[in-house]
Each structure stands twice: as structure tokens, then as C-alpha cells.
Symmetry: C2
Subunit: 226 residues, 2 copies
């Protein structure tokens, strides 16, 4: 399995292209609309066939490339079953397994940042979107977010994975790239030595400004970015 981590500098989003080498089937996680041509060039250069476009959630800070990628490649777009995006090819639920080549993708429902949020477990990597960052987590103060749900998703589901599982986040604002479940349990200041009540209070009092693109991005993403 080959994993390529691509970055959108404007929104500090990480997009992942994952290839099953023997079959040349591939998936992409959280593509950003402005980079769709690059993704297609990359897929073409390695002669890859895109099978799934996996969004972890309906983003508020960038527009998904899923709709255009679907049109151009014929791949199926995927979101968690709680999404309002009727345009998506396939809605997945907790525990569901998709596959490309010989590789399984296990869907882990991780609501909290948004109700529809899912993480994707692929071999020894978990793609955590905006549920879990390196030393942080996504916000819970818009788009139906819930600090209590996020606490349950992270501590009850992601932190129960094998401690050596690599954490591949949806963003990092300080150029960090990868972590492990053990590292996040040991070091993440949002969860370490914290109670559910303390976490909820912390998250509900961050008082951050809305993401710049939220009023454009959410409706665009509910239309698959097209």
C-alpha cells in the first residue's frame, strides 16, 4: 500500500491518495476542489484507477473535490450516513467495510465535529479528518457539532484502536504530518488528564471566529462541490 499525503496550503488540509500496488486501484480522502487537476495528473502518471472518493465529513473550510473527481474518473463518492448531501454516491455507516484491490476500508462513525463525521481505518492507518488532530481536535461549535459526541468518538472509539495505529489527520496548522494513537493518548492536550465535563467546557468556550469560507463551503459541499 502506497500513501501520498498532499497539502492544501490555504486551508492546511491534508488529502491522501492511497494505492493498492498489485491492482492499481486507488482511493482519495478529503480532496480539495482547487487541486483536482493535480490529483488526476498524479493518478494518470501512475496509471491508477480511482475507486472511491472518501470525505470524512462536510467541510466548512474548503470545497470538496469529490463531485468533479466523480465526474472525471467515474469513482464513487462516499460520506457518512448522517450527511445532508443527497448528491453523494454512497452513504456509509459505522462498521461498514469497503474495499479497493485487496485492501479493506473500515468506516468508524466519529460524530462531534459534525454529525456525519466518519474516520476511515485502512490497514495500520486511521484517517481521522477533523475528529482528531495531532495535539488537537476539530471544533464543535457549528454545523451541528457536539463536544460530548466528539469526546465519545475520540476516547471511546479512536483511542481504543491498536496504540501503534498511525493517525493521519485532516489538518495540521503547524506542518506536523503524522502521529500514533499512543502519542495522542500521551500528549494531546485536549484529552490528556481530562474529563468529559472538562472537555465539553473547554470546547464550548473556545470563542473562535467562524472559518472564512463557511458560508460558501457548507452549501457547496452539500452539493458535492459542484
Amino acid at each position: 500500500m502506497l500513501v501520498k499525503q498532499l497539502k492544501d496550503n490555504e486551508s492546511s488540509t491534508y488529502t491522501y491518495l492511497i494505492e493498492d500496488e498489485p491492482t492499481k486501484e486507488a482511493v482519495i480522502i478529503d480532496p480539495v476542489k482547487e487541486h483536482v487537476e493535480e490529483y488526476i495528473q498524479f493518478l494518470d502518471s501512475l496509471n491508477l484507477k480511482l475507486k472511491y472518493i472518501l470525505d470524512t465529513h462536510v467541510h466548512a473550510d474548503h470545497i470538496t473535490g469529490s463531485g468533479i473527481l466523480r465526474e472525471k474518473t467515474g469513482a464513487e463518492s462516499v460520506l457518512g450516513e448522517q450527511t445532508k448531501a443527497a448528491c453523494v454516491s454512497r452513504k456509509v455507516k459505522d462498521g461498514e467495510v469497503l474495499s479497493f484491490g485487496s485492501i479493506d476500508i473500515k468506516v468508524i462513525s466519529t460524530p462531534g465535529h459534525t454529525p456525519c463525521h466518519v474516520a476511515y481505518l485502512i490497514e495500520d492507518r486511521v484517517f481521522t479528518g477533523d475528529a482528531l488532530f495531532i495535539n488537537g481536535c476539530g471544533r464543535t461549535d457549528f454545523q451541528g457539532g457536539s463536544a460530548e459526541q466528539l469526546w465519545n468518538s475520540v476516547t471511546g472509539k479512536l483511542f481504543q484502536l491498536d496504540p501503534d495505529t498511525l493517525v493521519c489527520p485532516g489538518h495540521d496548522y503547524k506542518m506536523k504530518r503524522v502521529s500514533t494513537i499512543q502519542q495522542e493518548k500521551d500528549l494531546n492536550p485536549r484529552f490528556k488528564n481530562q474529563t468529559k465535563e472538562g472537555f465539553i467546557e473547554l470546547m464550548n468556550n473556545l470563542n473562535l471566529p467562524d472559518p472564512k469560507k463557511i458560508h460558501e463551503a457548507v452549501p457547496a459541499n452539500e452539493a458535492c462541490g459542484v
Copy 2:
């Protein structure tokens, strides 16, 4: 490929156990003498056959478990060709390839912390020992170390690997677990925006005390820890 990262808390050393799942062959990287029984229990619990014991270098801060593991498992112990440890089963040179199951181990000579230091590239992970840490690097002020050689090893060899290669270090003193080549190029303060001359001056003026166990560990490790 399954990778388990084990920690020796006293010396903050990371030891890695790596398994080729189809064949059950395994290797261990930088084992610590005090934990040999744990490693053997772990190997036995998964019915693994240990093929190689790979030390990245002759350590100054802990005693290797390689000699005892070799006695108990029949595996071959491995060190870089520049080592003075005559007891080692096999001395490897830059570019040499070993294998276990269907997995290749590429030896990358990375002198600087010690003259014999090698890194091991296994699929998408590089086990960097004390050549490259997360946000740091090994010392160059004892055991034949050379800041100029370390600069050349890190910038000329490790930083030339695929940027998505996972960096699995030999130590971390702040509980971080994993990084990538891209992250180290972007963030490592020892190398970022640095010149070779600046790095040499920095490394030659750290004025750190000797590791506590150096006078015990180096001769013990030159005798394979037995």
C-alpha cells in the same frame, strides 16, 4: 507488515518488532537488554520466527539485547560494517539488502553519531536510530562522532528519501512517536534553514554531560551485550 513500537522508559529508547504476516518471519530493531524476555514472550505469543536483530549502532545509553536474543532465538545479529563489535553475526554496508519473508530491508550508511551507524529502510518506514530524531538528532561528541558526517548523512541521504517516508526514531524524550521525512525537512530545528558550517558549530558546542551509562554500555555493546 505489522510494526510494534516498544519503549524503554529509562533510556527513552524505541525498539521495533516487525512482522511479515504471511510467513511469520520477524525482525527486531535496537532491542534493550532489560526487555529481552518481553520480546521473546511477544514473539512466542504470535508464533513468530525472529530472523534478524538489527542494531542501528553501538549504543552509549543502554545495553543491546542482541547477544542474548541471538542465543535464545538463533537469529542473526546485524551492525554496520564500521563497527568494532567482532561478535556480531553479520556486518552490513551501504546499499546492502537483507530480507525477511517477502519484505526487503535496505541498509543506509548514516555515520555521524557513530562511524558504524546505519538506518534501515523497510517499505515506507525508515528506522533512523540516533541519526535523525523527531525535531532533533543524535550527539556527535563521543565514540568517534562527527557533526560533518551527520549533516551529510541526514541531508544527503535521509532527506533524499520519498517525503512521505515515515521516520521511526531510536529515541524520543518527549513521548513523540513518529514523523515523516517531509515533516523533518520542514520543522527539525537542527537542519531547517541551516548550513553545514552552522550545524557543525551548533553540534560542537552543545556541551552536554556524557550519558550516564556510557562507560558501561559501550564496552558491553562491543561484546553484543553478553
